[in-house]
């Protein structure tokens, strides 16, 4: 069983379905979450390092601040498993609280 991802890592992986550089990731994640998830520069940097070590993402050509990252096929499997996990949480929550409509 895969460990749950942190919100930040989950969003970083989603952001990298398209190649992006560090700041681009931080901006798109803030936009997608309506400003709720503001990734810190230190957090993003550390996460990118870890994700590269785990081979969930890789770098494209480019040096320094122009360096771009993209998700690998292993990374995509991780995201898919996470979406399944979140769906289970969501469905059970919805059933128990008897939510209606859009929730």
């Amino acid at each position: 069983m895969q460990q749950p991802l942190t919100e930040g890592v989950y969003y970083i992986l989603l952001a990298l379905y398209e190649p992006r550089h560090g700041y681009g990731i931080m901006q798109i994640v803030e936009e997608w979450s309506d400003g709720r998830v503001k990734l810190g520069a230190g957090t993003t940097y550390g996460a990118l390092k870890n994700l590269q070590e785990k081979k969930f993402i890789e770098t494209l050509a480019g040096e320094g601040r122009k360096k771009e990252y993209v998700i690998t096929s292993l990374g995509k499997q991780i995201v898919e498993a996470e979406v399944t996990r979140i769906k289970e949480l969501y469905n059970n929550g919805r059933k128990i609280i008897k939510a209606e409509g859009d929730l």
């Binding site: 749950p4 942190t6 919100e7 930040g8 550089h21 560090g22 700041y23 931080m26 400003g35 998830v37 503001k38 990734l39 810190g40 520069a41 230190g42 957090t43 993003t44 940097y45 550390g46 996460a47 320094g64 601040r65």
Partner: protein, 178 residues
């Protein structure tokens, strides 16, 4: 403007620099034991301090600083592994670490430095102190032993605070997946 100040606690220093900034005094540089400020608009910048990994030099440190700057954050001053960053308030809230687990690994880094310094000073105090048992006239050693003891005691406060911050974060992490 210049101000004389000595801090033993990184969180207190950061707080003080931000208090100064909210009054329109923008931190420019620190040259022990003087802090220099420029006059500007009140509450224009938010400051963050960080202890870099290792000694703050080499490829890893440069790569990290380059990354941080590419996100629109300014490096105001870097001395060895100690960095002062700032970001304009128009860019919103400024945190280098936005989730609990990365905050915890940063606090662990600070804890390692404080505890290493404390242990080294304690050892030096004991060595210099025990030399006195052999020969009481060694004034220099007695001075150094006193100095080491003083630094050791001064480090206990930030050390205890770091432990407290660590425990609080661990409790948060146990409950929230952040």
């Amino acid at each position: 403007m210049r101000k004389f100040k000595i801090f033993m606690d990184d969180a207190k220093e950061e707080q003080w620099i931000n208090d100064m900034a909210s009054q329109g005094w923008h931190f420019k540089s620190f040259n022990f034991p003087l802090y220099s400020f420029d006059k500007g608009e009140p509450a224009e910048y938010e400051y963050r301090t960080e202890m870099l990994e290792g000694f703050g030099y080499g490829k890893a440190a440069n790569e990290y600083l380059d990354f941080v700057q590419s996100t629109g954050i300014e490096v105001v001053q870097k001395r060895f592994n100690w960095v002062y960053f700032r970001q304009h308030k128009s860019k919103g809230n400024f945190e280098l670490y936005s989730d609990q687990s990365s905050k915890l690994s940063y606090i662990n880094r600070i804890f390692t430095i404080y505890s290493t310094l404390a242990v080294l000073n304690l050892i030096a105090a004991i060595i210099n102190g025990s030399v006195l048992l052999l020969d009481e006239s060694l004034r220099f050693n007695s001075f150094i032993a006193g100095l080491n003891t003083g630094v050791f005691i001064a480090l206990l406060y930030p050390l205890a605070k770091t432990v407290y911050r660590k425990q609080n974060l661990k409790r948060e992490i146990a409950m929230y997946e952040k």
